[in-house]
């Protein structure tokens, strides 16, 4: 897939840039890259734009990543968008919760571009 429209949700602007760089290094051909600093901002982006891929932190102020994913399931235009959680928290309970809410993958910080490739690229090959 080319011109992937990605949404990166993280309260750290530095981390958003790193995630974008890793996606490019992984060979993902990015189109528009949207950024949001919390789940509420992420929902606003999704409601007003077409998005092909979402990468989200979990531990964020205002609306955390788990709440964000939960709310996404109710958004009509978010159906089928692959969501990958990228977070410092590696607790099994959180992983299970994120996956049960609809996330398709989980990457723990710190990460390498290869790990991003491994978790993200297969999701982009699945037709929505």
């Amino acid at each position: 897939m080319a011109n992937i429209r990605a949404l990166i949700v993280d309260d750290s602007s530095v981390m958003r840039k790193i995630v974008e760089r890793c996606l490019r290094q992984a060979g993902v051909e990015l189109g528009t890259v949207y950024e949001a600093s919390n789940g509420a901002e992420g929902l606003a982006v999704v409601s007003g734009n077409e998005v092909d891929l979402i990468l989200s932190d979990i531990n964020m102020p205002v609306m955390d990543g788990l709440e964000f994913v939960k709310n996404l399931q109710a958004a009509a235009n978010a159906k089928g968008i692959p969501i990958v959680m990228i977070t410092t928290e590696g607790a099994e309970a959180q992983v299970t919760r994120a996956l049960s809410l609809g996330a398709k993958g989980y990457i723990r910080k710190p990460f390498t571009p290869d790990q991003v490739k491994q978790h993200v690229v297969p999701l982009l090959r699945v037709d929505r």
Binding site: V14, R21, N59, T88, E89, G90, R108, K109, P110, T112
Partner: protein, 168 residues
């Protein structure tokens, strides 16, 4: 997490912080710096070099381990860390937001990596979002009787100090 570094038992959270915890803290920091900053850090057994460590990032831990993990360094080191993470120059006098953001995220990742190395903490310890303080003229007072584990690092010839205050 680097499989070469074994997960360690929690030891006595309320007892004496020991070398295992320092080793876990260092291993966590080393991995975070290597993967996210792209630069190795070394451990300074004699403490960090003297300098004005005027940028401090803190992350709270709650649950099986209550405490605060802090990482402090000078503005120049914070700018270097941000620059390496972003892959572009970050001047110490400008782009303050990037320096604070980068140091806060490093602190957050070190805390997460550390708790994954201590048996029983991964599932039972939560992290706060980071807070960053600038300046040196402040005192931090805890209402708990603290013990602390401190590790001095060297990053590009500059001191970076990791400190885990243990509240219980």
């Amino acid at each position: 997490m680097n499989p070469d570094v074994n997960t360690i038992a929690p030891g006595s959270v309320s007892g004496h912080p020991n070398e295992q915890w320092r080793s876990a803290l260092f291993a966590a920091a080393a991995e975070v710096f290597e993967l996210m900053v792209g630069e190795a850090v070394s451990r300074q057994e004699d403490g960090a070099p003297d300098g004005a460590n005027d940028t401090t990032a803190m992350v709270g831990l709650a649950g099986a381990l209550c405490g605060v993990l802090s990482i402090r360094c000078n503005v120049s080191a914070a700018a270097s860390i941000a620059s390496k993470m972003l892959g572009e120059p970050v001047q110490s006098a400008t782009c303050v937001e990037h320096q604070l953001d980068a140091l806060g995220e490093i602190c957050n990742m070190v805390a997460g990596n550390f708790k994954a190395r201590v048996e029983g903490l991964q599932e039972k310890c939560m992290l706060s979002v980071p807070t960053v303080i600038t300046g040196q003229d402040y005192c931090l007072h805890s209402l708990a009787d603290n013990e602390a584990v401190e590790v001095a690092l060297l990053f590009q010839g500059q001191g970076v100090i990791l400190r885990l205050e243990i509240h219980g």
